[in-house]
Amino acid sequence: MLEVAAIDVYYGRSHVLQGVSLTVRAGEVVVLLGRNGAGKTTTFRAIMGLTPPRRGTITFENKTITHLPPHAIVRAGLGLAPSGRRLFGALTVAENLALAEQPGGPWTRERVFALFPKLAELASRHAAFISGGEQQMLKIARALLSQPRLLLLDEPTEGLAPVVVRELGGWLKGMREEGLSILMAEQNARFALALADRGYVMEKGRILHEGAASELLTAPELAVHLAVGSRPSLAKTD
């Protein structure tokens, strides 16, 4: 479904991604693990056309999307729920959703509200004034309304209370049952691997390791890269 083949990404002169390759097959949940600055967000930015790679190719459903503009990549069927507070805070929840809405796909506002009933209650609230968990819902809902067949989630558990993280796991299982493929970047390896089929471990802009989720969870040599169970609360610089 998604094929990232040996991409090199630069920010100015710094060589941030070095020959990153990864694959997501239809129906899969794949997780990208690694610490802050490992290159997870940059990989997502490259896939979405925000920071196009200087070398290498990205194909989605057999179409080359490497140098398409972001909006064209979204319309091709890729959706990203970005990390951090990347919502339109001055706009209401309803306006945030309306901006992402593409008619003619499986996701309607009614379905999104059925998945996140809280968002229906908050529809006229400004996005700047909703809680972290609600913002996460809104980011995912917004990405769903653009009718993706592959959903990219960047650090979905970041800043969420444990009870909300558990809830998030439920939403993701539900979306997976709907046939959505998911590529997720996470530092919370235990959470991510419990949902995923496969995973990649990144460090310093390279893919270090690839394996089945069950294998990654138990591989002792990876514990040092994954920081399983503990979440460093450093500011995001990736």
Partner: protein, 298 residues
């Protein structure tokens, strides 16, 4: 000093303020969404007035006024869209100095171009017959055309408010002000949106020029004169805020009226004084802060 002369002064200051609002709103809108400082905005205003004069010269004024008032800004909007695609698009991520140099160079070129097309003589546009009269209230006679310019600016303000609050295009503009990249992730074509916003800004500048045409001599120099005032209004209100532009225009109008009435020789200084006072107290302009607070929190 009697009521009549005070009233006339106030009306004339209000008219200038109303017109400034139309122009400054365009400047502010473009800065808010595209983050560029466009020093050629005054040139768009001048070209709007000159186009108005040229369209007028085509035939009978009483018939041509209304279509010309719409057509002149539309032509400028189209020209603005071309300039955005060819020039401004390339400098969105450049530092402010590059943006200032490019737009300043463009304003010089447009001034020369205008000189070549329209010549150095000033032109005048007659007031349309329907608005040539005066409204007499309490012994003071108010020119109808001034009242029209004030009404037009109120309509522009209302129109922009409806556009920004209640249309998808407006939501896209407000979203782009906060996070243009995030908007592209919503599947929206941000470069096309920027072209449209830039064209809208050019439309407003030219509308200001076309509307003010019957009130003043039209010719070289209009561009730089209005640019300073429009920037003061936009900066006082907070660059990027349309409501701020309205407030800034009202404040400038007030200071201009007071200055003209009591200290005519110092009138121009009052405007700068108002700007300095506002910037000392609120460096981001009167209504420019709310947006920044959210951006800093991120």
């Amino acid at each position: 000093m009697n009521f009549a002369s005070v009233a006339i002064e106030v009306l004339s200051a209000l008219t200038a303020a109303a017109n400034l609002f139309i122009i400054a709103a365009g400047l502010s809108l473009v800065f808010g969404a595209l983050r560029i400082i466009n020093l050629a905005h005054g040139s768009f205003y001048m070209i709007g007035a000159l186009l108005m004069a040229s369209l007028f010269a085509l035939g009978r004024p009483e018939i041509l006024f209304w279509p010309a008032l719409v057509l002149a800004p539309l032509l400028m909007a189209g020209f603005g869209a071309i300039l955005e695609r060819l020039l401004f698009r390339r400098i969105y991520h450049a530092e402010h100095l590059v943006q200032l140099l490019l737009s300043y160079a463009l304003s010089l070129m447009l001034a020369d171009l205008a000189l070549r097309i329209w010549g150095a003589d000033t032109r005048s546009v007659p007031t349309p017959a329907a608005l040539a009269g005066v409204l007499v209230v309490g012994g003071a006679s108010f020119p109808l055309y001034n009242l029209f310019v004030i009404t037009l600016s109120l309509a522009v303000g209302l129109g922009l408010w409806v556009l920004l609050r209640h249309t998808r295009f407006g939501w896209e503009i407000r979203a782009a002000v906060e996070d243009a990249e995030g908007l592209s992730l919503c599947g929206r074509n941000v470069p096309a949106l920027f072209t449209a916003v830039f064209a809208l800004g050019a439309f407003l500048a030219a509308l200001g020029g076309a509307a003010v045409a019957p009130l003043q001599a039209i010719g070289p120099g209009m561009d730089s004169a209005i640019l300073v005032s429009a920037f003061i209004v936009a900066v006082i209100g907070g660059l990027g805020s349309i409501a701020g532009a309205a407030l800034g225009a009202a404040i400038i109008g007030f200071f201009q009226a007071v200055g003209t009435l009591w200290l005519p020789t110092w009138a121009p200084a009052f405007i700068f004084l108002a700007m300095i006072m506002v910037l000392v107290i609120r460096p981001s302009g009167l209504l420019g802060a709310a947006q920044r607070a959210w951006a800093e929190e991120d």
